[in-house]
Symmetry: D2
């Protein structure tokens, strides 16, 4: 059995993969591959539809859109994938779905569960429903668009070039040739107490990442983008000032009346 | 016995009283009045010198510069005031210094103390010393100056007109004639989730107040001022945009290398 | 205007005053005195009926039966007392009911409220109602009776000699002549990590106090009484061993099926 | 490569395995097997010496003697085991020591670490050193001995029959033939709010387990054993009353002056 593995929200690049289209492509090819999706940083910030999109295995975690400390990981598994896992042949113990599924109907776990985290999860889910999932998703989209407006105003380049696939969770930004993204990040941290994500592997030291997920609002984003702009100035990275104002203007254009929460 | 009562940091107007000069004026007049100072919102954010300035009674609280919940109040009392209190004649019980002073040397209180708050106070004082008191005071001064730079840029008026006496703890801002400060505050809260202080008594509905005290930094201030600017726009209060940028420019001018903490 | 002041649950002696009978005695005498009751350690552990018993002023606090840290105090005031307070003549400020009552209908306070404590109070009240107030009161009564059974078994004397007025909140115990209650308390603390209350004023060093209020159950009480019994032995205070077992036997006799909570 | 796998403290039976002797037996047989030890419930409650006893792989967790919520797991790995793991051949990712070891010297983790738990671990270790590890171990031994004294007094049987290998972490107790351990556990929980461990696999419903690990002291243990004794009575399981007193007598015999903490 083969599988196509896709990351829903790519935290290293700030792009969102079109999961439903990947499924359609697999089906169009008549291939029996499982569709496995990593939605660790996507779930609860970006729309994700396990059944509707035909996903076979999804993995997520507590420490991103669910606004909890690290410590919980989740699997959603299709019947097809569950059957396949019985005969997969790879030795495993803690990760074995069979033991988990066998005891799940009783409300228990085969191993010591992270009880404290489960209480937190309960509250996080209540908060998400209180705001309304559609409002949560729209908020992230607005903040992504506003961040990109700031980046364009600065004259810098967003790493994700595919329009419509930019992430509402984070934005990866390229620094100009001849400048070090990591030196910029160190300067911003030292002078403005803001911790920005680093570029990974191929874009190491070429990219910094601005997170805009979880429990944030327009003003938190304004503070964040101000930190980036002041850091650019302090680091001597060429840019046009006024990116924060551009972001705020974008936010005003896309301001919406929140839908009544479910 | 008479007393001169002064508020160190006036939270309703955003101005700082020159305590040492009040003492000098009392002494120059040869008057025996006690000098009583309310430094509830001043202590730990603005320099305050009980002995050096000749204060007789100071009162403060936990919920401002000490960064704790409300619940603790403090008195500092000179020997002179302590003696006077023995013969003051006003009936009192819980507020009586004599009972408190009698048991204080044993490390205990005559009544049930707010133990949890005392643990918090211990930590708050440790945080202040870790940053260094002079750095804490300088940080508040910078944030006050930056906020006033924003207000001037907006074309609005700071309530405190006495240069040099503007508070580093909060800034009270007059809205133009014909506009309601309270309506503006309600709009800002509704749309940008920012809670601004209201004008009190004579300046009710004419003034709003921006707090910049406690555990805040340049970027938190930027988020705050962005909320004010967006709220002004949304409320239709005439102003020049760009106040946040003006504040940040001011912060850059006055940026300093923190002194080594004590 | 005169007042009769009574303590509902006397923490220094472990006795409960019959408030309703005090009211009847005042009324029988045709005296207009106000009835003022301190129910700081009684409220939420022992039945208290402000209206039904004809109390004029009641004072309570957060740190006993309400299971919160110290920090909140409460007044209940009859119309009669409220009217009297307007002309009482004593100078006061923070404690003035008029200012509090004037703003109360708006849901606000005239001074900075202890917001964090109010959230805690909300939860404490929910917990009390979840258990059911009658069940809470019965639980305290049982624990008081069980503690007295232990004391009798030890051959020691309960300070409160009036049957029916012993407190369900705490039990004060006399140590035999020639022994120091404070030395015993120090021994128990050092060896068994249990902090017992001291005797106050007239019974200083003659009495120790066992608290059994708030969020405790049969087994917590067993641990507490074990600490007392081990401390008695270690201190060489003559006593019959087996007090904990006697207490548990008493608990079994008085075990009840909790009523359905309201 | 083969391995001998041993559980240091067996939570299902309440017995401690002699790890050093297992090592000696392996060595005496001239066998190259790795010695792998599960000390999940042993570490920080019972003496464990990785280097001195010649262990190759140890696994532990945060939720037992380290007094934290579940969420962290630890490996200690000998050089020999580390070398073997490079060629083990089993596919793995998250559990792979190589990636972890490669980045460890920098103070970082290859995956998102449970940061909050690491702060808690820091504090837990400080608490253990404050008490002194030898005192912590002695405390657990005393509590185990006292619990067994109670069980013997009740006339019940401790599951672990090997003298000297009984656990200081928990005690598994056999209920008499014809009685259900699980029914007893349900009764104790319902009436006395005490949650006892269940028997696993072969001793299911025949055994209940009393935990005495982590942040407990003599009086907490007394409360625990009282709950068991009251539960036995309520369940109609034949037993001699007075087990708690027997446990306390044992504690007095073995009382010691704590060594000065390191």
């Amino acid at each position: 059995m083969k599988a196509v593995c896709v990351v829903h929200n790519e935290t290293s690049t700030g792009s969102v993969s079109p999961i439903a289209q990947v499924r359609q492509a697999i089906d169009a090819a008549g291939h029996p591959a499982l569709l496995m999706v990593d939605t660790i940083s996507g779930l609860a910030s970006i729309d994700f539809r396990f059944d509707e999109w035909g996903v076979d295995v999804a993995v997520s975690g507590s420490q991103k859109g669910l606004m909890l400390p690290p410590g919980l990981s989740f699997n959603a598994v299709s019947n097809k994938a569950f059957e396949v896992s019985k005969t997969g042949g790879m030795r495993r113990s803690y990760w074995d779905w069979q033991e988990m599924a066998a005891i799940n109907p009783t409300g228990y776990f085969p191993y010591t569960p992270g009880t404290n985290m489960l209480y937190g999860l309960n509250e996080a889910i209540a908060m998400l429903h209180e705001e309304g999932l559609d409002n949560v998703f729209a908020r992230h989209q607005r903040h992504g668009a506003a961040t990109r407006a700031a980046v364009r105003h600065w004259g810098l380049e967003v790493l994700c070039r595919q329009q419509g696939q930019e992430s509402g969770v984070l934005t990866a930004v390229l620094v100009p040739e001849g400048h070090s993204a990591d030196a910029f990040r160190a300067t911003a941290l030292q002078h403005y107490d803001i911790s920005l994500g680093n570029g990974l592997s191929k874009v190491a030291d070429k990219v910094f990442r601005i997170g805009h997920l979880g429990d944030i609002n327009d003003l938190t984003l304004a503070g964040t983008l101000t930190g980036v702009e002041l850091g650019l100035r302090k680091s001597g990275i060429p840019h046009s000032e006024g990116g924060v104002a551009a972001a705020m203007a974008e936010l005003e254009c896309t301001r919406f009346e929140p839908l009544a929460a479910e």
